[in-house]
Amino acid sequence: MSLDNFNVQTKLGQPWKRPPFIQKKLLRWTIIFGIIAYLIAAYLSVDVNWSRVYEGLERGKKFVLAFTNPDFTSRSSDIWSGMIESIIMTVTSSVVGIGISIPIALGAARNVAPLPIYLICRGIIAISRALQEIIVAILLVAIFGFGPLAGFLTLSFATIGFLSKLLAEDIESMDKVQAEAIKASGAKWTQWINYGVQPQVMPRLIGLSIYRVDINFRESAILGLVGAGGIGATLNTAFDRYEYDTAAAILLIIIGIVMALEYISGIIRARVQ
């Protein structure tokens, strides 16, 4: 509320009204009408087969009950090998992805890299971010054949877009004074990066890397759906065979590992920052 059009006389004697979230009246009403019109159009075009949904509730109940009684044993060897494969894909793709994204992040930071390199690196990041993991996985499976190699390549590729972008932003917003001090001491370019830039972005790099490991693990769980290795294939089979207890067991393991990773990453991030 700007003070210029705040007229005390007109406001006197009237109860206070909360200022609206969007100040311009016209914009507010257009947005509200637009939303209502869209919702009606959307509701009309989404035809829901309610009798089918009602039938499904019974199965849904069975699935929820399966969570109280998950079956870890009868498919334990499949679950175990799928899980190991997922973890292996997570580890390798995180290491390779982070290794590649550090130079690309340096190249994508305007205060470190010259313009041509900057444009190339930003281009790589944009491509990697625009392509969905699962679509990349489909193409790579078609090219490299079934198996964890396609999943590994997919996750590494996706890691580059995520990590380089955030790391480059951090490098761009670093403190110039420290970096300049190193340069003033006559350091070479590599020394400048190593002693002037790297210590400043290290906490963020560690935090982002751990977060990315977490994401990679979660993503590795679905890559199996398109044949790129990991636990996804086992999970898909369990759903297709209506073995809800096995599916519940797999989901519980995924949730458990993600929770553990998040807990560990919380501790590590608190220590480095």
Partner: protein, 271 residues
């Protein structure tokens, strides 16, 4: 300051000797784990296919270009479905995520030891499972179609939105809340006049951000049968109609870029 004595001259080094041995050990263990994992991957890979990959890739490229432009006339409805899945999914997710966030935030939760852990459990479990898996599950339960996609997106987004929102609630300025409660406001009035105005920008930002992610995710939900443009993609892949596949991929790319642009604009306007 760690130094290294060399012929009586002290030379600065970054770490003490013990620290550097420890560092080397960590690196060694890391490299050993990585090598082991790489061997496992290498074992389950048919290397012949990999060496053959450049030929296959060029072959795919010649098959997929040029895209079959006429096919775009059949993509209107799938795109509309995709948009609906993302938008309605985000909407449903927000309806559930807001109360969950209030129950999970330390400063608004009614009970710290019973309700807060339950809310956190909801957040973690919905967040850690990908929307494709939720879609698989929902298709087994309520049958294939757009509705399964909407619910899958909604469930996956609850955890994400609620987590960011409860962090925003925990970071609010307590003095404003105190000022409202000092006027004798009830619990609900404190919520509406003290807390909600403070988190409104964060809330709007989070919803648009999640909507953008949901557009991405809903483009591939069709691969498991949950409606949207992914259905066309998987149908085209199954019959190896590569010119159609390349057109669909282009459309998806365009949708992702547009949604990201919209979300960046809206967030820029809010913040």
């Amino acid at each position: 300051m760690p130094t290294n004595d060399k012929n009586g001259i002290k030379i600065w080094q970054r770490r003490t000797n013990r620290e550097s041995i420890f560092h080397w050990l960590l690196w060694l263990i890391g490299i050993m784990i990585f090598t082991y994992c790489w061997q496992q991957i290498s074992k389950s890979t048919t290397w012949f296919f990999v060496w053959d990959a450049p030929r296959i890739a060029t072959d795919l490229w010649t098959r997929a270009t040029p895209p079959k432009w006429e096919y775009i006339s059949q993509l209107g409805k799938p795109i509309w479905d995709t948009l609906n899945i993302a938008t309605l999914g985000t909407l449903f997710a927000l309806i559930i995520a807001v109360p969950v966030a209030f129950l999970a935030a330390r400063n608004t939760t009614p009970s710290r030891f019973i309700i807060r852990p339950i809310a956190l459990l909801i957040i973690v479990s919905t967040r850690s499972i990908n929307s494709l898996i939720w879609a698989l599950l929902l298709i087994a339960i309520i049958g294939p179609g757009v509705f399964a996609g909407i619910i899958a997106i909604a469930i996956r987004s609850i955890g994400f939105c609620a987590k960011l929102l409860y962090e925003a609630i925990e970071e609010i300025d307590a003095t404003q809340v105190e000022a409202i409660s000092a006027t004798g406001a009830s619990r609900w009035q404190v919520m509406v006049y003290g807390i909600v105005p403070q988190i409104m920008p964060a809330f709007a930002g989070i919803s648009v951000f999640r909507w953008d992610i949901n557009i991405r995710e809903s483009t591939v939900l069709g691969l498991v049968g949950a409606g949207g443009i992914g259905l066309q993609l998987s149908a085209s892949l199954n019959v190896l109609a590569w010119p159609q596949v390349s057109l669909i991929l282009l459309v998806i790319l365009l949708a992702v870029v547009i949604s990201e642009w919209v979300s960046a604009k809206v967030r820029g306007a809010i913040i």
